[in-house]
C-alpha cells in the first residue's frame, strides 16, 4: 500500500505552479515576494481569478430561482462546484456539503443548528487546548447558553493531544467532541480517524476543524468517520468568503435551519413554513455564487496536482526549513519535530525578538510571515509565550523561498544583536 502510494506520486513542479499565480511576479519593498503566510490565507491561481471574472462577465444570475438561460447556467455551475468539493473530501453525497462563508461560519452553523437543538443542560462538550478561537469560542458560548460544561483535553510538551487525558475526558460521555485536524500554530496533525472512533464509542457527535488540513493533505470524511467537517476556501487557493461544512445526512436532516429566509424553504404560509431539502435548508438567501464557483476551480487545480503530492511537497519544504533553522542558535520551534505528524507550519521564536519585530524585519526583505497569538491565546498562555512568528508553506513555495526566509532571519538576528 505504502509502496504503491510512493510510486504514484509525482513531485510538484514548483516553478510551473508559481507561474500560475499572477501575484508571484510582484515585488515587496523592492524584493521578490516570498509568501509564507499560507496558514492565514493563500494566493490565487489565474484560473480561479478568471472563473470569477467569467461568472460576472458571462452568466451572472441568481441560482435555484430563474428559468432564464443565465440562471440555468449559474445554477448548474454552482451545483457542479458543490459536487467537486464533495468529491474532494470524498463525501458520500453532494447533498451533505453546505456552502458557508468559511470555517468560522461552518462551525457556527453546527453550533446554532445542531448544538442549539441537541445539547442539553449538564452535557459535556469536549475540545482541546490547541484549538483556534473559531473552534473554541462558539463552544464556550454554547456551553454557557445551555448550562453545559466545556472540557479541554490538554496537550503534551511536544504539542500533541494528551491521549490519556482525552480518553479520561471521554469517560464523561460528552455529547459533542470538536478538534482540529491540523493545528494552525503547532502544525500538529491529529489522527482524526482515531479521535472520531474513540469519540463515537463514547457516544459523542464529532466536529472536525479542517481549515488547515483540507488544503494540504488528502482528507476523506468517510475514512475519518466524522459527523461534521469544516473548512475554508481561501486557505486552499479559492476566494475569500466561501467555505463549507460537511455534515452526515441524517444529522443535517434532523437539524433546524441555521439562518432563515429565501431559498431555504419549500413552502411558506402565514402560519409557518416547511424547510427545503438539504443542503439548501442551510443556505438561506442569495449565496456567494461567484466564490463558490471559484472554490470549485481551486479544488480542480489541487486535484490535478494531487493532494498526496501537495502533502509530500510540504514535508520536503519542512525538512529543508528544519535543517536550516536548527543551525541558528537561540531559535525555538514549537510543536512536533516529526515530519510525518506535522503540517507545513513552523512557529518559532528567536532569542528575545518579539514576533512583531521579527515580522517587520522580514517584511523589509519581502518575506511575508505571520506573528502574534494566531487566534490561539489559551495555547499561548499554556506555552507561556506572548506569541510566535509563523512561516507556513504551500504548493508555490520552493526551497529558494526558504533560503530567502533564512537570510531574513539572520538579518533580524544581527539587527537585534542576538
Amino acid at each position: 500500500m505504502r509502496k504503491e502510494m510512493l510510486e504514484s506520486t509525482k513531485p510538484v513542479d514548483v516553478e510551473r505552479v508559481k507561474n500560475d499565480f499572477p501575484i508571484m511576479s510582484r515585488k515587496v519593498n523592492g524584493k521578490r515576494l516570498v509568501y509564507l503566510d499560507n496558514a492565514a490565507t493563500t494566493q490565487k491561481p489565474k484560473v480561479v481569478i478568471d472563473a470569477l471574472v467569467d461568472y460576472y462577465s458571462r452568466y451572472n444570475a441568481n441560482v435555484h430561482r430563474g428559468v432564464h438561460q443565465l440562471s440555468i447556467e449559474a445554477t448548474e455551475t454552482y451545483e457542479n462546484s458543490r459536487k467537486k468539493v464533495a468529491k474532494f473530501i470524498n463525501s458520500p453525497s453532494h447533498q451533505e456539503v453546505v456552502f458557508t462563508r468559511g470555517t468560522t461560519e461552518s462551525i457556527n452553523l453546527v453550533k446554532f443548528a445542531w448544538g442549539a437543538k441537541f445539547v442539553k443542560e449538564g452535557d459535556v462538550i469536549l475540545i482541546t487546548l490547541m484549538e483556534h478561537h473559531s473552534n473554541m469560542v462558539p463552544w464556550q458560548l454554547l456551553a454557557k447558553e445551555k448550562g453545559a460544561r466545556l472540557e479541554y483535553a490538554p496537550i503534551t510538551s511536544d504539542g500533541r493531544i494528551d491521549m490519556g487525558e482525552f480518553e479520561r475526558l471521554l469517560g464523561l460521555s460528552p455529547s459533542l467532541v470538536a478538534f482540529t485536524q491540523c493545528s494552525n500554530v503547532l502544525g500538529t496533525i491529529n489522527d482524526a480517524e482515531k479521535l472520531c472512533t474513540m469519540a463515537k464509542k463514547a457516544g459523542a457527535t464529532t466536529v472536525v476543524d479542517a481549515a488547515q488540513s483540507v488544503p494540504h493533505m488528502p482528507v476523506d470524511v468517510q475514512k475519518i468517520g466524522c459527523d461534521f467537517l469544516c473548512f475554508s476556501g481561501h486557505k486552499m487557493l479559492g476566494p475569500t468568503g466561501i467555505g463549507a461544512v460537511y455534515g452526515r445526512k441524517e444529522l443535517l436532516n434532523s437539524m433546524d435551519p441555521f439562518q432563515s429566509g429565501g431559498d431555504m424553504i419549500k413552502e411558506v404560509h402565514l402560519d409557518g413554513a416547511r424547510w427545503n431539502d438539504i443542503p439548501y435548508k442551510f443556505e438561506a438567501g442569495t449565496t456567494n455564487i461567484a466564490d463558490a464557483i471559484g472554490l470549485g476551480v481551486a479544488v480542480e487545480y489541487l486535484s490535478v496536482l494531487g493532494m498526496e503530492n501537495v502533502r509530500r511537497h510540504e514535508v520536503e519544504l519542512l525538512r529543508y526549513a528544519f535543517e536550516k533553522m536548527s543551525r541558528i542558535p537561540n531559535l525555538t520551534i514549537y510543536g512536533p519535530m516529526d515530519l510525518e505528524s506535522r503540517g507545513g507550519v513552523v512557529s518559532f521564536n528567536l532569542a528575545d525578538i518579539h514576533p512583531h519585530d521579527m515580522a517587520s524585519i522580514l517584511d523589509e526583505e519581502g518575506v511575508a510571515i505571520r506573528s502574534g497569538h494566531h487566534c490561539a491565546q489559551p495555547l499561548m498562555e499554556h506555552l507561556n509565550i506572548p506569541g510566535t512568528s509563523r512561516a507556513s508553506f504551500y504548493v508555490y513555495n520552493s526551497t529558494s523561498d526558504i533560503d530567502a526566509f533564512i537570510g531574513a532571519l539572520l538579518k533580524a538576528k544581527s539587527v537585534f544583536c542576538v
Binding site: 528575545d352 518579539h354 514576533p355 512583531h356 519585530d357 517587520s360 524585519i361 523589509e364 506573528s371 502574534g372 497569538h373 491565546q377 499561548m380 506572548p386 506569541g387 538579518k411 533580524a412 539587527v415 537585534f416 544583536c417
Partner: protein, 135 residues
C-alpha cells in the same frame, strides 16, 4: 517601516526599560491591550499636590520592542508635565520621540498604545475631578 528603526537606543529601552514597575500610592491607573498583537501596557501616575501635573509615572507591560520602548520613553517625557500636555500628544510627537519618520500603518498602533493608555488615565482623572461635588 525600515529595520533601521531598531537602533541601539530602541533596543536598549526594550531590554532595559526606564520607569518600569508599579507605583504606590498612585492617583491614576490605566491599562489597555492591543488585541491584534497582544501588546499590553499599564501605567500608574501620581498627580502633583496642585492636581495639575504628573509628579511620578511608571509602567508595566509586555510586547514588541516598539510598544515597550515607546511606553518607557513616554514615561520619561511625561514626568513633570502638566496634565493638559497629555491631551495634545499626537502621532507625530510619538514618531519623533522614537526617531522614526514613518512607522507605517501596521506598526503605528504598537507605538501609540502607550499614548492611548496615558490619555485614558489622564482623561479619566480629569473627568472624575470635574464631577467632584466639592469643586
Amino acid at each position: 517601516m525600515s529595520s533601521d528603526f531598531y537602533r541601539e537606543l530602541i533596543l536598549d529601552y526594550y531590554r532595559n526599560p526606564r520607569n518600569f514597575g508599579k507605583l504606590d500610592p498612585h492617583d491614576i491607573d490605566a491599562r489597555d491591550t492591543n488585541p491584534l498583537c497582544g501588546d499590553e501596557i499599564e501605567m500608574q501616575i501620581r498627580v502633583s499636590p496642585g492636581k495639575d501635573a504628573i509628579e511620578e509615572i511608571k509602567f508595566i507591560g509586555k510586547g514588541c520592542a516598539i510598544s515597550q520602548a515607546s511606553a518607557s520613553m513616554l514615561t520619561e517625557m511625561a514626568k513633570g508635565k502638566p496634565l493638559e500636555w497629555v491631551k495634545g500628544l499626537s502621532r507625530d510627537d510619538i514618531q519623533k520621540m522614537l526617531g522614526s519618520s514613518d512607522l507605517g500603518p501596521a506598526r503605528i498602533k504598537c507605538a501609540m498604545l502607550s499614548v492611548k493608555v496615558l490619555k485614558m488615565g489622564v482623561y479619566g482623572y480629569l473627568g472624575a475631578q470635574h464631577t467632584e461635588p466639592s469643586d
